[in-house]
């Protein structure tokens, strides 16, 4: 809440703080589902429908039902030219999900996304906040293993 109060001091209108406040909610609540959007709308006294329109316009908010690890493989031209499709196929092979799907255990969601601004390190992907660049298929295998361990470790720990 303190962060929210601080945000309000940075903008001349309350509404301008909407996008960063949604980020706060995303981080605090883990995702932006219907209750979370309602919470932000009520907190900021903005019509809920307006907030809904905003959240669905953008692609980078973490929506309800997203797996613990959101694997977003860049698929625009520069990455496609350097094998992004093979990266996607490999992940599908290893995790058993296609782009747009989430594993039944809820640990992984796979998406194909547009240019992430890292074309010189193609092919690459973003997993939650982190960029994983210059990917070979071995790198992909390694990353999946790492994430699996983290996901399952988290469950048992």
């Amino acid at each position: 809440m303190k962060q929210y109060e601080w945000l309000l001091t940075r903008y001349p209108t309350r509404r301008a703080a909407l996008l960063p406040t949604l980020r706060l909610a995303e981080s605090d609540f883990g995702e932006l589902g219907v209750p979370e959007m309602r919470y932000v709308a009520d907190l900021m006294e903005i019509p809920p429908a307006f907030v809904f329109g905003v959240v669905t316009f953008y692609t980078h908010y973490r929506r309800a039902g997203t797996g613990k690890f959101h694997i977003q493989v860049c698929s625009t031209l520069s990455c496609a030219l350097r094998g992004s499709e093979d990266v996607v196929s490999r992940i599908t092979e290893r995790l058993g999900i296609h782009p747009g799907e989430t594993t039944p255990c809820g640990h992984f969601t796979l998406s194909k996304v547009e240019c992430l601004g890292s074309c010189d390190t193609a092919p690459m992907l973003q997993c939650n906040d982190d960029y994983h660049e210059d990917l070979s298929l071995e790198d992909v295998d390694q990353l999946i293993e790492q994430l699996r361990a983290e996901a399952e470790g988290g469950q048992n720990g």
Partner: protein, 543 residues
Amino acid sequence: MAENQTNDGTVAMTRWQLNGQEVENPTGMTIMEAAKDHGIEIPCFCYHPGLSIAGNCRICMVESNRSPKPVISCSEKIADGLVIETESELAVSSRNSVMEFQLINHPLDCPVCDKSGECTLQDHSYEHGPDRSRFVEDKNIRHTKELGPTISIWGNRCIVCTRCVRFCDEISGTSELCIVERGDRSVVDVFPEIPIDNQLAGNTVDICPVGALISHDFKYEARVWNMDRKDSVCGGCSRGCNIEVETLDGFVKRLMPRENLEVNDWWMCDEGRYGWRHLYADDRLSQATRDGTALEDDSATAALEQLLSESGPVAFLIDPYLTCEEMHLVQGLAASRPGSIVGGWLPDDGDAANFPSGFKISAAKYPNRSGAEHIFGAQVFGDDAKELQKSLLSSDFPTVVAFCGGHLSTGPGESWAKALSSTPTSIIFSVKTGPWLEGASLVLPATAPIEKDGTWINEDGRLQRTRSCWNPGTEPFSVELVRLQTLQNALDIRGRSLSAAGIFRELAAANDSFAGHNHSDLGSPGLLLAERPAGIAMDGGSE
């Protein structure tokens, strides 16, 4: 001072060129609005004079000398030296291109779409669109769902003009609608769990340029080209919103608002809009009865004549739904029976509402209190009414003629019902059946507000024409305007029967408040009672 007013109070004008003609318009107008003044209608989807400018449909593009690219005429303002072409190759091809783009993903729903026949997309497509499609791909799919209790959306038809979203933001101020997603996945939606449910929601269906927003009230009810249309006024409250009444085979199918910038802008409230179903409800009174026995319509009039010819002074209880013309006839009757008095009943106030755009709903849920006060005096619903009720309860009057109109199932209320039943001979005109009819000597079916032909005065003092939803000759029973005149004929008060317009002329001659007014000059928008018409209208509305 208005934007285009000069220092000496005159309106500043801008000289520009439109399709080769030098023209002039008040400074500050948009090209689209200014072109209208010169008879040029530039097509639009997203533009609406009552809403903010969106500029997203792009169909109003025209060629301008100020820009290599076509400009949208809904937002570009006229300027000195501006040269605009609406029919140049660039303008026409831009318009045709937009039309083609609008149609490529549009479903071929016309045969099953309610909007057919009043659809802007159909109309503009006919004028400006291709006559065949080059699109061989799979069309986009978007949701079909209920947005609220009265409205659904067929998302495949939505052209994302945002009129409905702007309406809920700017006019009703309730902001329940939004556009979700992006690109050609965009469509109108509501927040999950929060349906669109404001008092003005029905207007969004009117302004939707396509058949995306569908009204539950009107869904699949009628093809618009089969319906008859009359310009009329809503009788739901004293705002007197101007409406269109649409009927099919004599039955009301839909009410729509009419533009009147002095009264209701382009809008009407849902209560008024959907407030016609009571006409056909189970508690509608359709049969005249004499002491409980059913009567044919002619016999009912005969009974009325018989009861009043034998009476002395008569008490008249009027309602605020009667037209000025009907009230004038009541006054004539009262005058013919010395000692008669007139009082009126009012339903309790409902909820008023004020909306951000300035649109109002009145707490007074009846259309013509003002008319009654001008005809019977300011106290007709006040002291006069109190006195009348007292008299009736003490059985001071042997006969009462009561008008119990309107749409409420409570009628005139308990105390008036008691007063009526305390009177030896009670003659009651009623729209609905209800407890106030108990023990009545003669019960006559009455017209509901949209079945009346005549005038009402709204809460601003505006005299407006209401036109019956029935075509002449197809009334299911003798309307009050006719029955009361037939009665007057029989009682030798009147020589011949007149139309509502004729009755109004009588009223204007007899009552200073109405002097100088006539039906023709009221036309469609009506006139303030205090304003006198300029002269004989050459193009006046129908009588």
